[in-house]
């Protein structure tokens, strides 16, 4: 019995992607993230040697200027970069999984447009200007847009059918963007503030904001951890997923909740950072194959790496000022994404 079993198991087990490899890959990605984080602490307008960075973290001296820069300026934005990047990576992976559309991301599905509209409203009518002030409006805007998109796409009786969801999302984005533009064209002062918020940046963001929003972030991450198998089932088509005992409505609503929590938090802290949500899952899938638990884990790490690296590049490359991370990530991520798409094995017919 035992011998027969092993004989039968061996090829099947060998053919399954061994989680061990993926685990090592994930560890390597984590190491890469650690390197990027250290670079984030060391590099900037003024470079700080690595041993000083470590000193600043381990045994900070009160009067040391370098230690102050590391602890007060660079550490917060790097930590925020890790959190926001990971949240966006997860969010993109979930959206692409539930919609089965490879170009789904928070921007195309109208979530960023909702956040923008709420922020513009807050700046114009309530006179709120600081990044910390608009946090809750950005969060509420994202959530409202998500509810509208899921609600309308469920109206036709199809409960968030993928293609319908994508179309509704794009249409909601169109309407919200129009409203935003009306305000921007009539109010110069709002435009002045909005144009810096909308590109997305880690500069001047405070750790307190992240702490205040961390319950949402954690809840979003917890839902993401639980949603992997459901996304695996959905990938086989709605009928088969139902046949496999997956409740589609439940999967869709919990994915919507995760998206609201993750994207809402990220956008509230850093503004609508584009591209990470689109690209991180594509990079991840190239390594992990189709299993969503791995796709989600890798997407989170890759998202974090992309955003922190973009922030570092923006600080170094910007000359006197700095270039916002939201811009850098698309400028440098775009070619990477194109390379990934081009190098993919020719798809199915």
């Amino acid at each position: 019995m035992a011998t027969i079993d092993t004989a039968a198991h061996a090829p099947a087990a060998a053919a399954r992607r061994r989680p061990v490899h993926l685990l090592w890959g994930l560890a390597a990605s984590g190491a890469a993230l650690a390197v990027v984080v250290f670079l984030g602490l060391a590099l900037g307008a003024r470079s700080i040697p690595l041993d000083v960075v470590i000193d600043a973290l381990v045994e900070p001296r009160a009067g040391d200027n370098d230690h102050l820069v590391v602890r007060e300026l660079r550490l917060p934005r790097t930590v925020i970069g890790v959190a926001v990047g990971a949240a966006l990576g997860l969010c993109g992976a979930i959206l692409q999984g539930t919609t089965r559309n490879p170009i789904a991301d928070p921007g195309l599905l109208g979530l960023n447009a909702g956040a923008s509209l709420a922020v513009v409203g807050a700046i114009t009518w309530l006179g709120i200007a600081s990044p910390a002030g608009v946090v809750w409006f950005a969060f509420a805007g994202t959530a409202a847009a998500a509810v509208v998109v899921y609600g309308i796409s469920a109206l036709g009786g199809a409960g968030g059918e993928p293609m319908r969801l994508a179309l509704v999302g794009a249409a909601v984005a169109a309407a919200a963007t129009s409203l935003t533009t009306v305000v921007l064209l009539t109010d110069l002062e709002t435009l002045e503030r909005y144009r810096f918020w909308v590109v997305g940046s880690l500069a001047g963001r405070e750790l307190d904001t992240l702490v205040a929003l961390s319950p949402f972030l954690i809840a979003g991450v917890l839902i993401s951890i639980g949603i992997g198998r459901a996304l695996d089932a959905i990938a086989l088509g709605d009928d088969l997923a139902t046949g496999l005992g997956q409740r589609l409505d439940r999967a869709r609503w919990s994915s919507a909740a995760a998206v609201i929590l993750l994207c809402g938090t990220a956008t509230a802290i850093a503004g609508p950072i584009a591209f990470v949500g689109l690209a991180a899952p594509h990079l991840a899938r190239r390594i992990t194959g189709p299993e969503h638990r791995w796709i989600l884990a890798y997407s989170a790490v890759f998202g974090a790496i992309m955003l922190v690296a973009a922030d570092v590049v923006g600080r170094i490359a910007g000359g006197p000022g700095e270039i916002e991370a939201g811009l850098v990530v698309a400028m440098f991520g775009g070619p990477v994404m194109i390379w990934v798409v081009r190098s993919a094995r020719p798809g199915r017919r």
């Binding site: 559309n101 490879p102 170009i103 195309l108 309308i152 796409s153 109206l155 036709g156 009786g157 199809a158 059918e161 293609m163 319908r164 994508a166 179309l167 509704v168 794009a170 249409a171 909601v172 169109a174 309407a175 963007t177 129009s178 409203l179 533009t181 009306v182 921007l184 064209l185 009539t186 110069l188 435009l191 002045e192 144009r195 810096f196 909308v198 590109v199 584009a274 591209f275 689109l278 690209a279 594509h282 270039i323 916002e324 939201g326 811009l327 850098v328 990530v329 698309a330 400028m331 991520g333 775009g334 070619p335 994404m337 194109i338 798409v341 081009r342 993919a344 020719p346 798809g347 017919r349």
Partner: protein, 348 residues
């Protein structure tokens, strides 16, 4: 095959085809009437209101000097440009979405019109150009970006999925450049650029219109000829090949025409927001099925001219907003309403 059986079968096939065409024709007729109604309103409403009868008289060359100036020099150019731009963008969007088999793949989203915006904003903000030079830059920008996407997506042919993904990546890069330019510019210049990026029909002149009209006179027939294989392409490449359609060639030709249409429309009025995106899905839902180039062009016309009418007269106190703001506001909710009321399975 018995003669009678063939006749009966042919009759059924013809009947089904006729029913589809009848519906398409009814939709087209209704859209034409809608556009004409909007046109009549556009020409007669305004600070100097002219009754429709007088508008007609003026158009026939029998108006007073003042009427002639208002109708022929102020309102008619704007209306005409709206019609042309709407047709160009609507048809372009429908071709993109059909050929690439993804309803999100309109020129707004895969970077073509964003490319035009980058070039135009560069011309406005960095080179300090204006007028025709900006339009020329936009036209060039759209073509260059489209060519870049096509070349990057080429690997033993172009698959729709790869084209869309690379187009989206390029669009993100273009958006980043736009964001950079806008955050670094003087705030007033930024607002000027924003107006251009929203799309506007103000300042339409006959010279411009002639150029656009001539371009469309070439491109629209080309699109209609090339779209014959579109129905086959929609069934997938293998099936299309089986039906004798050269998928690569047909797709390249159609995309080239669609890019040119988008470039012409964008150069003339800016990337009037979301016309290209919504025209196709709305037209398909009205007509009932598959590639609907002419209805999409008519929907585009109705959206642009209708939006411009609202943009001119909507806000109290004579505040006028660029047409591109209103296109999103009327097009998107209408599409949402259609999506919410059509049943499952039609959403493809």
């Amino acid at each position: 095959m018995s003669a009678r059986g063939a006749a009966v079968g042919g009759g059924i096939a013809r009947g089904a085809r006729r029913a589809r065409l009848r519906r398409a024709h009814r939709v087209e007729l209704a859209l034409v009437v809608l556009v004409l109604g909007i046109a009549a309103l556009s020409l007669s409403l305004g600070a100097y209101a002219i009754p429709p009868a007088d508008v007609l008289r003026t158009l026939l060359g029998d108006g007073t000097g003042r009427e002639e100036f208002v109708v022929l020099e102020l309102r008619l150019p704007r209306l005409t440009l709206g019609v042309l731009v709407g047709a160009a963008l609507g048809m372009s969007g429908e071709i993109f979405q059909s050929v690439l088999r993804n309803p999100l793949a309109s020129p707004d989203i895969i970077g073509v019109t964003v490319g035009a915006s980058v070039a135009a904003v560069l011309a406005l903000l960095v080179l300090g150009l204006g007028g025709v030079a900006v339009s020329a830059a936009a036209f060039g920008g759209a073509l260059i970006v489209a060519a870049a996407i096509y070349l990057l997506a080429w690997r033993d042919g172009v698959s729709g999925a790869r084209f869309v993904l690379i187009g989206v990546a390029v669009a993100f890069m273009a958006h980043a450049v736009l964001g950079y330019l806008l955050t670094r510019a003087d705030i007033r210049d930024a607002q000027t650029a924003l107006v251009w990026m929203v799309g506007s029909l103000s300042g339409a002149g006959w010279d411009e219109i002639v150029v656009v009209a001539v371009s469309l006179a070439v491109l629209v027939p080309a699109a209609l000829v090339l779209c014959v294989p579109l129905r086959a392409l929609e069934l997938g490449d293998d099936t299309a090949r089986g039906l004798g359609v050269r998928a690569q060639g047909a797709r390249l030709g159609l995309i080239a025409v669609a890019v040119a249409l988008a470039a012409v429309g964008t150069a003339a009025a800016g990337p009037v927001a979301f016309v290209a995106f919504v025209a196709g899905p709305i037209a398909r839902r009205l007509v009932g099925s598959g590639p609907a180039l002419v209805p999409a062009a008519l929907v585009g016309m109705a959206v642009v001219t209708g939006a411009d009418l609202l943009a001119l007269h909507l806000l109290p106190g004579g505040i006028q907003v660029p047409v591109g703001i209103v296109t999103g506001l009327i097009g998107a909710p209408y599409l949402l309403w259609l999506l919410a009321t059509t049943g499952r399975g039609e959403a493809r």
